[in-house]
């Protein structure tokens, strides 16, 4: 295990966490989209994410590229092993992308309803399946000795993975509602506040349930926490942030609520990473066949080159991303020049 491999573990963890925070609220908005009936509300929701969703999705694309570059065996094993769920995610993301662009191009109610449904399904499926994928990885995948997935599709639908999927789903849906409270005023903001408090309820119950189930059924995931107790900070961060989220949402401190909800996602991703490090994909029943940061990574030269590219590129990306979020920040105004 080299320092570069550890660095890339954290960098990819960071990329995927930022993706979960940024695209998380887009996907969450997609879920709540179904709960609004009026056309202007739906347009408002789309315009809240319209300027940023595409840039947010690039974090996933870059994360995918970075996994390919830094841990090619993880890219190969996981994506081919989780073939069907990943295809469903891709189909969903295709529909999400085009629905946002297509829906407002025609005033026909039938047209708009069709693309609204596509947009909602295109958001709900990834929000759920990303968590199921994480659950499967935490749980371990059936692998053979050539690093290939050796299970069947039905293996991926195990209860543990589905539970983790629901935790992730509740987190993103809550996050989306909180984002909506930040972006709207009036009636829509009031409803978003209700959505957030309802989502929170599921989020906290599912998170506690998943923690208990993990402790009882997946003891191998607790090793790092026992060895390095400071890691408990991650799951505790989730709980603390859910509490803060509940309070700030009630007091309508929307910015604070959004920060809390984002940090709770950091806590979730950190908890997952702390559970498996330095393993990347545990092999079910055969720990020696697991993919780790040591046996799944690229060469030192590639990891170094990539690090240089990331250190040059990412500060610039972060700079203009912040600028764009500021430019399009603030409340969505319906009387302004709407695009979506």
């Amino acid at each position: 295990m080299s320092a570069l491999q550890v660095i890339w573990f954290f960098l990819i963890g960071g990329l995927l966490t930022v993706y979960a925070i940024l695209d998380g609220y887009d996907l969450g908005i997609g879920f709540w989209h179904l709960f609004t009936k009026k056309d202007e509300d739906r347009r408002a929701l789309l315009n809240a994410i319209g300027p940023v969703w595409d840039g947010n999705e690039v974090w996933l694309i870059t994360g995918g590229g970075a996994i390919f570059a830094a841990f090619p065996h993880v890219y190969a094993t996981v994506f081919s092993g989780l073939y069907l769920p990943l295809m469903l995610v891709l189909f969903a993301l295709i529909f999400r992308a085009v629905s946002i662009e297509f829906r407002s191009k025609s005033p026909s109610a039938h047209w708009r309803n069709t693309w609204d449904t596509a947009f909602a399904i295109g958001s709900i499926l990834p929000a759920l399946l990303f968590g199921v994928a994480v659950g499967n990885i935490l749980h371990g995948l059936p692998l053979d000795n050539s690093k290939n997935f050796a299970g069947a599709f039905s293996d991926l639908l195990n209860p543990y993975a589905l539970l983790i999927g629901l935790v992730g789903f509740a987190a993103l849906v809550t996050h989306g509602a909180v984002f909506a409270t930040l972006k709207f005023e009036g009636d829509l903001a009031r409803r978003a506040k209700k959505w957030a408090s309802r989502g929170l309820y599921f989020y906290v119950v599912l998170f506690i349930l998943a923690s208990v189930v993990t402790a009882l059924s997946q003891p191998q995931l607790l090793g790092n926490f026992m060895a390095i107790p400071v890691l408990w900070a991650f799951p505790l961060l989730v709980l603390a942030m859910i509490a803060m989220l509940a309070i700030s949402n009630r007091k309508e401190k929307t910015r604070q609520a959004f920060v809390a909800s984002s940090l709770s996602i950091v806590g979730l991703c950190g908890t997952a990473a702390a559970s498996i490090f330095p393993t990347l994909v545990p092999a079910l029943g055969k720990p020696e066949w697991s993919l780790t940061i040591a046996n799944a990574s690229s060469s030192q030269l590639t990891l170094t080159t990539m690090l240089v590219l990331a250190l040059i590129g990412m500060p610039i990306v972060i700079g203009y991303t912040i600028w764009i979020h500021r430019t399009f920040g603030g409340k969505v105004k319906m009387e302004a020049d709407l695009h979506y």
């Binding site: 300027p51 890219y75 073939y83 295809m87 295709i94 085009v98 690229s298 590219l309 990331a310 590129g313």
Partner: protein, 446 residues
């Protein structure tokens, strides 16, 4: 059906569909930069309306490009896992670099370009258009780097049966990167410009929005003509590179079976793999030797000089290549005709030219696909030329039923998307640009 064939069909389908859109958006993005530059300089509301209209067309196409593009980022892992393991040390880096240096740029600034009209200054808006174009063009660079490495791998050695990077810049600037990149990006300029040309021609034929259409027609004609002429040289440059680095591919696209000096160029013919000869050939003696190696007497290797199992499929390389070249010649002729009319000041009245321009809209898209097909099929049976065979590169853990399912789904989804895209583009065009109206839409001053 076997998994190799299914995976190949799925890859061809998904990349073939995706590749309809990036050349259009890359080409249009630079024309939009030009329009925005004019708007920034003159403040003329006509340029503003032009930009708004073409940005709408751009955004619709970009969305479909993004939607189909995300599939490509993951498909190496889902369907080509053995390939991914083999090349991960080299191939992943350009994909990640594409995200970091290109996708973030274009997607972020696209939002400013689309939505910035009443929010940012004209200067910032212009800058956003430039960043979108730069991002789009950079993304083409990194993806061509990755693909060119499959054609002419460099900067690596094999360790434990897997390719390992030894020199990053040698891998990035492998022998085919630059010629293929220039050829592709220039093809994108032709595509974007001929698209704008054809639509502007339609407005003129209908007598609608004529001020707008005349300006768009002129600008796109100049770009299309310049790009089409330059493409002759760039295509030639690329062919020379193929001649030096991938002789089987050259032999396949040119239909040469025999190794010979004064090798002829085939204008037409029907290659037969079985009989190892060309039927109904129309040859220009010595031309291929001259074009490929700059010498009439240079020796050109024929297919027979290589083991037959290493031959690329012939029909799918020979015909697409020849058709692409023919289309390239047609683009030069069409745009030269337009430039002649412009010079004689009859451009906007010549209905023959306007009709030709309108009906030529699909042709550059077809040329792009044909070029891509001859390039990629010409690499077969290798996924990495002379290093890894395609049949050894697929995911072994994916069941065939799942491949069939995903292939059918992609086909259905892409047919739907293409139909909707066409429908919406036609709708936008019929709706037309906003009419010049100096009182509407005051800008934030720069």
């Amino acid at each position: 059906m076997d998994a190799v064939l299914l995976s190949r069909i799925q890859f061809a389908l998904t990349i073939g569909f995706h590749y309809i859109f990036p050349p259009l958006t890359i080409g249009l993005s630079w024309l939009i930069v030009w329009i925005m530059t004019k708007y920034k300089k003159t403040g003329d509301i006509l340029y503003r309306n032009m930009a708004r209209f073409w940005i709408k067309i751009f955004a619709l196409s970009f969305a479909v490009g993004v939607a189909s593009g995300i599939v490509m980022e993951f498909q190496f892992g889902t369907n080509w896992s053995e390939y991914s393991r083999f090349v991960g040390d080299i191939f992943g880096a350009p994909l990640a670099a594409e995200g970091i240096f290109a996708f973030f740029l274009e997607s972020s600034f696209l939002a400013v370009l689309i939505l910035g009209w009443n929010r940012v200054s004209v200067k910032t808006h212009w800058f956003a258009s430039l960043m979108v174009a730069v991002g789009a063009t950079l993304s083409a660079f990194w993806i061509i780097v990755a693909n060119s490495w499959q054609q002419t791998p460099a900067g690596y050695h094999i360790v434990n049966g897997q390719a390992q990077l030894t020199n990053f810049w040698a891998a990035v600037f492998n022998p085919s990167t630059i010629p293929r990149y220039l050829h592709t990006v220039d093809g994108a300029l032709i595509t974007g410009a001929l698209f704008m040309l054809g639509i502007s021609a339609w407005f003129l034929l209908k007598g609608r929005h004529t001020d707008f259409a005349k300006k768009s027609l002129k600008m796109s004609l100049v770009v299309a003509f310049a790009a089409a002429v330059v493409e002759l040289g760039l295509g030639h440059l690329h062919a020379i590179q193929v001649a030096f680095t991938q002789p089987e591919k050259l032999a396949a696209i040119e239909g040469c079976f025999e190794t010979e000096r004064r090798a002829p160029a085939l204008i037409f013919g029907i290659p037969s793999r079985k009989d190892e000869r060309i039927y109904a050939p129309v040859r220009v003696p010595g031309l291929l030797s001259l074009l490929a190696f700059g010498d009439l007497n240079a020796e050109v290797k024929g297919l027979k000089a290589f083991p037959k199992e290493d031959w690329p499929p012939l029909a799918l390389t020979f015909f697409p290549f020849h058709l692409m070249v023919a289309l390239g010649m047609y683009f030069i002729a069409l745009t030269a005709f337009g430039i002649f009319l412009l010079w004689r000041k009859r451009l906007f009245e010549n209905r023959l030219f306007l009709k030709l321009a309108l009906w030529s809209i699909p042709l550059p898209f077809i040329a792009n696909e044909l070029g891509w097909i001859s390039a990629e099929v010409g690499r077969q049976p290798w996924v990495v030329y002379h290093v890894l065979r395609t049949r050894d590169a697929i995911s072994t853990s994916v069941p065939v039923e799942q491949l069939v399912f995903s292939l059918i789904m992609f086909a259905l989804i892409y047919i739907l998307l293409f139909a909707v895209w066409l429908f919406l583009i036609r709708r936008e065009i019929r709706h037309g640009p906003e009419e010049a109206n100096p009182s509407a839409g005051k800008e934030v001053p720069a």
